[in-house]
Amino acid sequence: MIDKFVPSLADAMAGIQDGATVLAAGFGPGTPATLMRGLAEQGARDLTIVMNAGGRDEGPIADLLSTGLVGKLICSFVRADSVAGRQFAKGQLELEIVPQGTLAERIRAAGAGVRGFYTPTAADTILAEGRETRMINGRLCLLEYPIFGDVALIDAWQADRFGNLTHRDSARNFNPIMAMAAKMTIVQTAHVVELGAIQPEHVHTAGVFVQRVLHVPV
């Protein structure tokens, strides 16, 4: 019988290696806060974190960065006055800033088997300096590559034992695409439901993308 539920946070995080690239979902709601705490506790070092934004002085990403386990952050937005901003200023954190839509598309590309793509976004900005561009139908485009995760940390509202998920309201955000883009997708779900409780046409993230699920009641 397929059963992707794991009994503890330690089980959920088992096996994450030093140097892993970890995709962490969320945009306000939808952030897998418990799993991000578990990642800090698990202790893998020299992590690359891929997340929408670098956060502030407190909260899941700030707390994770404060452990010193993260070597690089790939995101669309970092405030100078934040843990991430100060670590960067001190040379403790490498940053790769990616426009938010390009970030989403690069993650989706990793999940969909797209090995590279051209986008006009940022093509004529300093983010394109030294990088490959190409004119397509008169529009300057920038070549972007997929962002693969070794691990994805995902938040869900409901999950069944196959790993089928729903996400509540705008807590969906990066969750479905990050789940697609990682070798090991780990989910924290507010609710556990019986198989079949999520109608097939209402599944937001299909179990094919999910390896482990931890019940974290709200």
Binding site: F27, G28, P29, G30, N52, A53, G54, S76, F77, V78, R79, A80, A84, G85, F88, A89, L95, I97, V98, P99, Q100, G101, T102, A104, E105, I107, R108, T119, P120, T121, A122, D124, T125, I126, L127, W157, H167, R168, D169, S170, A171, R172, N173, F174, N175, P176, I177, H204
Partner: protein, 214 residues
């Protein structure tokens, strides 16, 4: 004659006047966010980068849904007929040309339609890009909402060329400031409207770029 610059609500209300019913619109952070408050007599559908299509009025304290925010991570409501999608689908809307309009704030706009709204230096230690580059490039039309001049020093933000790092080149269609409404044309900014009491001379004095009247 005296003139009274529009306040931030005034700029937002002026923009709202020009949005027809049925448009799909993304509003950036700052003045643009306020635009939706002034179109409630028409069905205009507001999109947020985090996957919301159909943002409604701000919730009362008692009605906050913690799972529902806009691109500024402020609590929102949904209109009847809203739809929710994931982040890649949401940016497909923005990048695929499906938004009739995006309204962004800016530091500077140039007469060739360049916009600078994310950094004040090429070498800024941290970079607050967010979704602005995607929206600026992807929307059917980009309007900018901003003050005409800098608060400090009074220098014009309506430029012959941007001095700050660009968000995108040649994409701005209109600029709505506290003094005027300007349209980007091949010959310079065409002045579509000025606030009461404003004169051509006074506007020229506050504008670094070429202004034309048609």
């Amino acid at each position: 004659m005296e003139f009274q610059p529009l306040d931030r609500d005034g700029i937002a209300a002026r923009i709202a006047r020009d949005i027809p019913e049925g448009w799909f619109v993304n509003l950036g952070i700052g003045i643009p966010t306020k635009v939706s408050d002034f179109v409630q007599d028409r069905e205009v559908i507001f999109h947020a980068e985090n996957g919301v299509i159909g943002i409604g009025p701000a919730p009362t304290e008692a009605n906050i849904n913690p799972y529902l925010v806009n691109a500024g991570v402020q609590h929102i409501t949904l209109i009847t007929g809203a739809a929710l999608v994931h982040h890649a689908d949401s940016f497909a809307i923005a990048r695929g040309g499906h938004l009739d309009l995006c309204v962004l704030g800016a530091f500077e706009v140039a007469e060739n339609g360049d916009i600078a709204n994310w950094a004040r230096s090429d070498h800024e230690p941290t970079k607050q890009v967010g979704g602005a580059m995607d929206l600026a490039v992807g929307a059917q039309r980009l309007w900018v909402a901003m003050e005409h001049t800098n608060k400090r020093g009074g220098g014009s933000r309506i430029r012959t060329a941007c001095s700050y790092p660009l968000t995108a080149k040649g994409v701005v269609k209109r600029v709505y400031t506290d003094l005027a409404v300007l349209e980007v044309t091949p010959r310079g900014f065409a002045v579509l409207d000025m606030i009461p009491g404003m004169t051509r001379e006074a506007l020229r004095a506050r504008t670094e770029a070429t202004l034309i009247w048609r």
